[in-house]
């Protein structure tokens, strides 16, 4: 078997003013090829106006087993949300 084309992750900006969003992945020999394939595979129905591709091996992801230490500390910090601070109605909109 020949060497397999590397895997690329594809991100697409759907409309002006939106951020690029992960839509899936595909195989391609290089970045230019990946953009061309992404255009055919992921934008057949006007889904995008801009494409990013990143080789999958270049992505560093957080580990699901670290979910606790990573995200739990944020849970008890409700004072980071505006609703934590009651403001009397008399003050008006704030």
């Amino acid at each position: 078997m020949s060497r397999e084309w590397p895997l690329w992750e594809v991100f697409i900006r759907g409309q002006h003013g939106m951020s690029h969003r992960h839509v899936g992945s595909l195989h391609a020999a290089d970045a230019e090829h990946a953009v061309k394939n992404a255009r055919d595979v992921y934008t057949r129905r006007n889904e995008g106006i801009s494409i990013w591709v990143v080789e999958a091996t270049q992505i560093t992801a957080s580990s699901p087993t670290e979910k606790g230490p990573m995200y739990d500390p944020a849970r008890d910090k409700v004072y980071r949300h505006p609703t934590f601070y009651p403001i009397p109605d008399d003050v008006g909109k704030m």
Binding site: M1, R3, W5, L7, G24, L26, A29, R44, R45, P64
Partner: protein, 325 residues
Amino acid sequence: MYAQMVKSEATKDDPEMLAAFQARIDAGEKIEPKDWMPEGYRKTLIRQIGQHAHSEIVGQLPEGNWITRAPTLERKANLLAKVQDEAGHGLYLYCAAETLGVSRDELTEMLLDGRMKYSSIFNYPTLTWADMGAVGWLVDGAAIMNQVPLQRTSFGPYARAMVRICKEESFHQRQGFHIMMAMVKGSADQKRMAQDALNRFWFPALMMFGPSDKDSVHSAQSMAWKIKMNTNDELRQKFVDETVPQAEYLGLTVPDDTLIWNEERGHYDFAEPDWSEFFDVISGNGPCNTERLNARQKAWGDGAWVRDAMIAHADKKAAPRKAAE
């Protein structure tokens, strides 16, 4: 269905981990590729998603057969778009399977050497233009029955692939029905072709859901894992209930003398397909099994030098950049 008779793999995992995993699924959580999962869950999904992907790819062949002979330029563009979608659907699914630790090329090799299957339906020939109507209407219609509930499947990448596919697929069924509408309003010959296509595709379409699995342990395991959402019989009944009135609208006769509305059940009673034919087809003896596999093997073999050349070119371009780092 596009994935037929997928056996769930036995799991020999730690009972506590298994219970915690099942609890996540029962709570409606999605399982993501890096999460812990039972080996059986992983293997069953690879087989199921792989078979689903292969069906999309092989499914291009019976329709590709008519692209150059479509009756009008518009029909040709429609069919081309549909077949192109199927390539895309295969790719979404291969990508979902790859997140489980199998490579694209491995999946392809397993299709080509017969270790993995594709849906029985694509081993039937498409003899006339009316078959393009019947395939879109019945085959895509049956596929949608299965794929809509799979949008809620427990494995995240599979569910997301299904969402994309379902969004695109409803056009497939409608374009098929549209062809049928044109045929039945045409000449007597055209109407006869439409009836003939329905006659040939009705039972193979019913077979797509697979044999009754209400007592199957594999099915029970897959349903507990939410990688199968309904029994084969439920989906088949739903398909018949929705399709019969559509055939009536077309003025075509479903080729089943026993077909009758059962007021008490609120469903149609209908004849089972010939399951011996189904088993014969999935074991390789359908009318087109050899032709389909040969076509895939030829495409893979003929394309090898292109894949190699693209990689060689990419390596060559990357070499000066690497040296400069």
